[in-house]
């Protein structure tokens, strides 16, 4: 992860503050920074979303393509994740520097979605064993100020909500081969049910307490963090400990409980916001990248 250098005095200051539930920018230990979400900003994709969390900015584009289903799961579609750490974010990511971080992020995303409940993959099947929808979810990191996992997972949820997959039907032509026809009406499309898509919460252990949505400075003071992905029902789909330190079993239990609480509380306002944005329709003013 992109790092900043923090002096010993700053570390002590941050530690003491967190011990008293007061972070450097005045937040409590379980408060998020100001978050802005906007969908449907890239017209060439089937769904897109941009999330700005404090100074972290993430752009996700979803493109749906027709492909062959996996041999072991012939009546399901699938998702492919790719995370690109652009050199815009920090100079460390220039060339192949961001590749390691990008692989780590995409591997975690595969694990987060590796269960039957998050997305209804059967609805992505076109014809069993031959054609299915493959959703390519491409994540671009524009700015990096800590807490990448959370921003990426929220952006993916928003982008999948925004994704419009065109409806197809299969017809058999003269020689008996199957032909796929896309419907002519651009508004005739299928939407994905994102109710069960999980959101990731990152909890950093700083001193004896944990903080949600850590900035880079706070991350530099922590030895280890726990990533936990939670659905709106409170089911945990993926957990992972990152960082070079070790954690007490008791802290892990505390952190999973806090993570579940925070994650569960994130979904309802997010869905309400996305539906509100969608309801505005053509009247919506696009903010874009200018703010």
């Amino acid at each position: 992860m992109a790092t900043v250098q923090v002096s010993e005095a700053e570390k002590v200051y941050i530690l003491h503050g967190i011990r008293d539930d007061l972070r450097v920018d005045g937040r409590g230990c379980e408060d998020y920074r100001h978050m802005e979400i906007e969908t449907d900003m890239v017209s060439n994709t089937d769904g897109s979303a941009k999330v700005t969390l404090g100074h972290t900015a993430v752009l996700v584009g979803v493109k749906a393509e027709i492909g062959k289903p996996r041999p072991m799961l012939p009546n399901e579609g699938y998702l492919e994740f790719f995370v690109d750490c652009s050199a815009n974010a920090t100079p460390e990511f220039e060339g192949r520097g961001g590749e390691e971080l990008g692989t780590e992020l995409s591997n975690t995303l595969y694990k987060v979605f590796n269960n039957k409940h998050s997305l209804d993959l059967k609805s992505l099947c076109i014809s069993r064993g031959e054609h299915c929808w493959v959703l390519y979810v491409d994540v671009l990191l524009l700015q990096c100020d800590g807490n990448l996992y959370d921003a990426i997972s929220i952006a993916i949820k928003a982008a999948l909500f925004n994704t419009k997959i065109p409806k197809v039907h299969i017809s058999a032509d003269e020689e008996g081969r199957k032909e796929i026809e896309l419907s002519d009406d651009p508004y005739d499309c299928m939407r994905i049910n994102v109710e069960n898509v999980p959101c990731v919460v990152t909890l950093c252990k700083v001193g004896h307490r944990h903080v949600v949505d850590a900035t880079l400075q706070e991350k530099a003071c922590s030895v280890a963090s726990l990533i936990i992905s939670v659905t709106h029902k409170g089911t945990v789909t993926c957990t992972r400990k990152v960082g070079g330190g070790s954690l007490d079993p008791e802290s892990i239990f505390e952190m999973t409980e806090a993570g579940k609480r925070v994650g569960k509380a994130l979904h309802a306002p997010l869905m309400a916001l996305l539906q509100q944005e969608e309801a505005q329709g053509k009247r919506r003013q696009k903010v874009g990248f200018l703010s």
Binding site: M72, N115, K116, G234, K241, G245, E257
Partner: protein, 274 residues
């Protein structure tokens, strides 16, 4: 896509014959007994065979066999680092590399490191790093290479155990041995140290609690240095699973300690005749 020019590859499209099987592979019954006679819902780990000091060229090495899972690990170092930046001046660096031999799994894998291998290597590094006294090796690098010879379930957990044994055999200073244990949750029951069939067999009934969990644990210090879970589980199940895994690690601890003591005694010079 990186291509491998050194090895003769088969035809572009070749598939595993098991895909063409007429009847589906038998699913392991959900609440029935386990195939190898171990108990469900109990901390029943497979008996392990461990040996240190197999590879004479490496500074330290270890081999572990648990059921049919076979892995070996070699440790090289401490040696001089290639890259020098500020953190390297104060403490050492640990690099891990975990690979699956192409013949290790049911389906042939490739020698080129896929994303799953990189993921395991990263997990291994995160699990081992807290246990090593890297501040005693400034400007140096310790390399850990794990090769999975046969994948018969809970590979990451055994890789962690094997790697920490190899590090101890190499004489790298450590705070404690790191042991790994994994469980697989299926509905209301769980199995500890799952075999390959138990890991990959998802029951047709899509129950609420289904997933796998791997924990890396330092027994003497009671610290968890690595945790990874996937699937969909409730938080209570996850907490209970972590407790079960730590119990499994405690069970394994005496065996690993004995193996290490044996290797040290074998390597020590014979007592002088006086």
């Amino acid at each position: 896509m990186p291509t491998d020019n050194k090895r003769v590859r088969g035809p572009e499209v070749s598939q595993n014959p098991s895909l063409f099987r007429c009847k589906p592979a038998e699913a392991v019954p959900l609440h029935g007994p386990r195939a190898d006679g171990r108990q469900r819902d109990q901390v029943d780990v497979r008996p392990v065979f461990v040996r240190c000091g197999l590879v004479s060229q490496a500074k330290g090495s270890a081999y572990i066999e648990a059921g049919n899972t076979k892995l070996m690990c070699c440790v090289y170092g401490p040696k001089e680092t290639e890259r020098k930046d500020e953190t390297d001046m104060k403490c050492g660096r640990l690099t891990t590399d975990m690979r699956f031999a192409p013949f290790s799994c049911l389906e042939r894998g490739s020698w080129i490191q896929g994303s799953q291998d990189k993921d395991f290597s990263l997990m291994l590094q995160e699990s081992l790093q807290p246990a090593l006294c890297l501040h005693k090796y400034p400007r140096s690098q310790v390399e850990v290479n794990v090769v999975v010879l046969e994948n018969s379930g809970s590979v990451l957990a055994h890789a962690i155990t094997c790697a920490s044994l190899a590090l101890a055999d190499a004489g790298i200073e450590m705070y404690d041995l790191v042991l790994g244990c994994s469980i697989r949750q299926d509905g209301d029951s769980y199995v500890v140290d799952p075999s390959y069939m138990e890991e990959n067999n998802s029951s047709s009934v899509s129950s609420e609690n289904q997933g796998g969990l791997t924990v890396a644990f330092l027994p003497s210090l009671n610290q968890i240095s690595g945790l990874q879970s996937d699937g969909a589980m409730t938080e209570e199940t996850l907490t209970a699973g972590v407790r079960t895994c730590t119990e499994g690690c405690y069970k394994l601890y005496p065996v690993i300690q004995q193996a290490l003591a044996k290797a040290v005694r074998k390597g020590a010079p014979p007592p002088s005749e006086s």
